[in-house]
């Protein structure tokens, strides 16, 4: 009886020590789930989800405080990916949060006064300029977040939808007409 208790407690102690040691030694830095969610998000940093950037939204989804359908730039495809990743049901966008076609900001250089307010608002440093100097958008880096539009005191920034070109063209999903039944030769049994 006593031996059994001793053996069991010894095992418990050893296992406890191993667990305690590995909890410290192999501690996971950061939140791996948030990393995975962040990798799915489109990184526009637009804040349309109500969080100040994609990373905070990913963390909010990871701890369960945010829904998966708050990211319009990610599109329905993005919601599907999040649903797959988290093992939850697909959820359509709420009213007024539908995705818009992709666009980049454009600064009307005749109107720009060089106030640098848009520079401070741009989350990805995609605006080149300095105080009292002309500002311009680096179109290849612009994520189309629209955060520069509100701060502009002279309303010189507009969003230009991206036109489809040969390099961005995508082939359509093949769709074919079904076999029309009425064209079948007479004599064959109709379906």
């Amino acid at each position: 009886m006593l031996t059994a208790i001793l053996v069991m407690s010894a095992i418990a102690l050893v296992l406890g020590a191993v667990l305690g040691f590995s909890a410290i030694k192999f501690r996971v830095q950061g939140n791996p789930l948030a990393d995975k969610i962040d990798a799915v998000l489109p990184q526009t940093q637009c804040g349309q989800c109500g969080y100040p950037g994609c990373r905070p939204y990913a963390e909010a989804i990871a701890d369960g405080s945010a829904d998966i359908n708050l990211c319009p730039p990610g599109g329905e495809e993005g919601i599907r990916k999040l649903a797959d990743l988290l093992g939850v049901e697909f959820k359509p966008f709420g009213a007024g949060a539908e995705p818009k076609p992709k666009a980049v900001a454009f600064i009307d250089e005749n109107t720009c006064i060089g106030c640098t307010l848009c520079l401070q608002a741009c989350p990805v440093d995609a605006i080149a300029g300095a105080a009292k100097q002309m500002h311009t958008i680096i179109a290849s880096e612009c994520t189309g977040c629209e955060l520069c539009i509100a701060p502009c005191p002279v309303d010189c920034i507009s969003m230009v939808p991206l036109k489809e070109s040969i390099s961005t063209w995508k082939r359509e999903y093949p769709v074919f007409a079904l076999n029309p039944v009425h064209q079948k030769k007479s004599g064959l049994p109709s379906v």
């Binding site: 962040d38 998000l41 489109p42 990184q43 526009t44 940093q45 950037g53 994609c54 989350p123 990805v124 440093d125 995609a126 880096e141 994520t143 489809e164 070109s165 040969i166 961005t168 063209w169 995508k170 082939r171 359509e172 999903y173 093949p174 074919f176 007409a177 079904l178 076999n179 029309p180």
Partner: protein, 556 residues
């Protein structure tokens, strides 16, 4: 007799080559205008080098190559540049691209051409010349040839010239080999020199006996050594680079491996011809042989200047009524042109006028019955039925696992499918979707990186500002100790050099003097006077503070 090998699968579609291969290559009458796209090759679009209204001569560069992977574009004839704008081009999307419109003046006047002896030129010089002459792969891939002509670390043992021309209806390489065999062989010699290759194998399908005979005769006449013309069995798609290499050498080029890593490089016979003309005659690539066939009165091969509108070209072969559209390329791998007004480009090997009699509409697709005939026909040893299911359900990850990107889109699977499923269209859809997603992913990663760097930078700036302020405060405190009325002493301010020591000595002296001279009116003061002094001191302190903040402010 060389031992030949077999590749997996393959089909035997009706060849339909006799319509157009019985007549010699014909020149074309100059068209009313030439619409020359600046992006006719793989890589970066050429940059316009002319202005609207400018007179150009035949062979003059109108598009400069931009970046490493690019190629030059030339005026196909002499004339006036009428426009540089976005126009519809020969691309399945039907989208516009930057084109130069040239109105020919009818003189066909050449720029000065400089024939060169390639044996006296360095490899780098030769490659530059090919790039400036706009020589690209004419088999259909239009990859800049200079990029493929490097002598690699893995020694190239074999240079394969592709004259197989397996696709039905097309006979342009056939006629080129029949009529200009000697020039092709000269081009092959230049390529062999650039690649440091050993033997040259010219693979020609055995349904072109005239071309094989002409090439053999040219090898004998030109006394070319280690160049062998090999008749390969007619089996579609035996003209695919990987398939032809397999048949000729037995080497199977694995997925994700380049043929050069296996010691083989492959070029189309037309490319070899173009390289020879560019170097030995100083003629840049301005035209190519195009088969015009299908629903036309006189199917034939033409030497067509690039930019010639397809409708004017087809008219010269006698377009018959009932034409429903035009295919660029062959019926297996070609695509329907978005309009007949687009210009002929370097990739245009064949134009087929379609009619309902020649190309009846495809019967409606039926469900896949899992017969796996597509897998038996696939020359890339893939499982098209699996790829079809994954593509149909947009399960792209799985499609990639099944090596979707090894598919050469030859159409053999669609050809044999008893359910008439347009399999290749599904694969093309999947490929373009995967490319687009890859592109989006890269853009997102870049945006994330930029955003994170920005946050780091803002944090760093905040920290630097705080440090600066702290340092300034410290300096201000130290400065205050100099004043006659010390607010606080700074024991840390140790003199560092003799100048500072002198200053320190002077300060100490002044301080001693100040300590020695005691104010005489500070004793026996009334409460009233003391209150007044305290008041004044407070005011002074306030003013000092204000002055200090005034000094700090503009620098912030």
């Amino acid at each position: 007799m060389r031992t030949l090998f077999k590749f997996h699968g393959g089909v035997h579609p009706p060849t339909n080559k006799t319509q157009s291969n019985d007549k010699p290559i014909a020149p074309v009458a100059l068209p009313s205008k030439l619409v020359i796209p600046l992006h006719q090759h793989v890589g970066n679009r050429a940059k316009p080098a002319v202005e609207v209204g400018q007179q150009v001569l035949k062979g003059q560069i109108i598009g400069m190559p931009e970046g490493r992977l690019s190629s030059a574009v030339h005026a196909s004839t002499s004339g006036t540049v009428a426009a540089i704008d976005m126009q519809q081009v020969a691309h399945p999307s039907g989208l516009p691209d930057l084109c130069i419109t040239l109105i020919p003046d009818g003189k066909d006047e050449w720029i000065a051409r400089e024939p060169r002896d390639w044996r006296a030129m360095s490899h780098t010089e030769l490659r530059h010349l090919l790039r400036d002459a706009g020589v690209v792969g004419l088999g259909g891939a239009v990859f800049p040839s200079d990029m493929k002509l490097y002598s690699h670390q893995t020694r190239i043992a074999t240079l394969v010239l592709n004259g197989a021309e397996c696709e039905p209806w097309i006979t342009c390489d056939d006629l080129l080999m029949r009529e200009r065999a000697a020039d092709i062989l000269q081009g092959a010699e230049i390529m062999r020199e650039l690649l440091n290759a050993g033997e040259v194998l010219i693979g020609i399908e055995d349904n072109k006996p005239e071309a094989i005979a002409a090439m053999n005769a040219a090898v004998a006449v030109g006394k070319h050594e280690r160049i062998e013309v090999v008749a390969v069995p007619t089996l579609y798609p035996g003209g695919g680079a990987k398939q032809l290499i397999r048949v000729l050498t037995g080497i199977e080029v694995a997925a994700g491996v380049r043929s050069t890593d296996m010691g083989v490089q492959c070029f189309n016979v037309g490319t070899a011809y173009g390289a020879w003309r560019a170097i030995a005659h100083g003629e840049p690539l301005l035209s190519r042989i195009v088969t015009v066939t299908g629903n036309v009165g006189k199917p034939q091969n033409f030497e067509v200047p690039f930019g010639m509108p397809v409708d004017e070209l087809v008219a010269q072969a006698g377009l018959l009524p009932g034409t429903t559209g035009h295919i660029m390329g062959g019926p297996m791998m070609g695509f329907r042109l978005p309009s007949a007004q687009v210009g002929v480009i370097k990739a245009t090997n064949c134009i087929i006028a379609m009619s309902d009699a020649l190309f009846p509409p495809a019967p409606p697709a039926l469900p896949c019955i899992r017969c796996t005939r597509c897998a038996e026909a696939c020359p890339a040893d893939l499982q098209p039925q699996e790829l079809y299911w994954f593509s149909k359900s947009k399960n792209f990850g799985k499609a990639q696992e099944y090596h979707l990107f090894d598919c050469i889109e030859c159409g053999a699977c669609s050809y044999v499918c008893p359910s008439h499923i347009p399999l290749v269209q599904y694969f093309q859809f999947s490929k373009s979707e995967i490319h687009a997603r890859e592109h989006d992913k890269q853009a997102a990663d870049r945006a994330r990186e930029r955003h994170e760097y920005r946050e780091y930078r803002i944090e760093r700036e905040k920290q630097e500002k705080a440090e600066r302020l702290a340092a300034k405060e410290k300096a201000a405190l130290a400065a205050k100790t100099v004043e006659p009325l010390p607010v606080a002493t700074n024991p840390d301010a140790a003199p560092e050099n003799t100048a500072q020591m002198k200053i320190q000595a002077a300060i100490d002296h002044a301080r001693e003097q100040a300590a020695a001279i005691q104010p005489k009116n500070t004793e026996n003061l009334s409460a009233e006077q003391l209150a007044e002094i305290a008041d004044i001191e407070a005011r002074r302190a306030r003013i000092r503070e204000l002055a200090q903040s005034h000094v700090d402010q503009p620098k912030e």
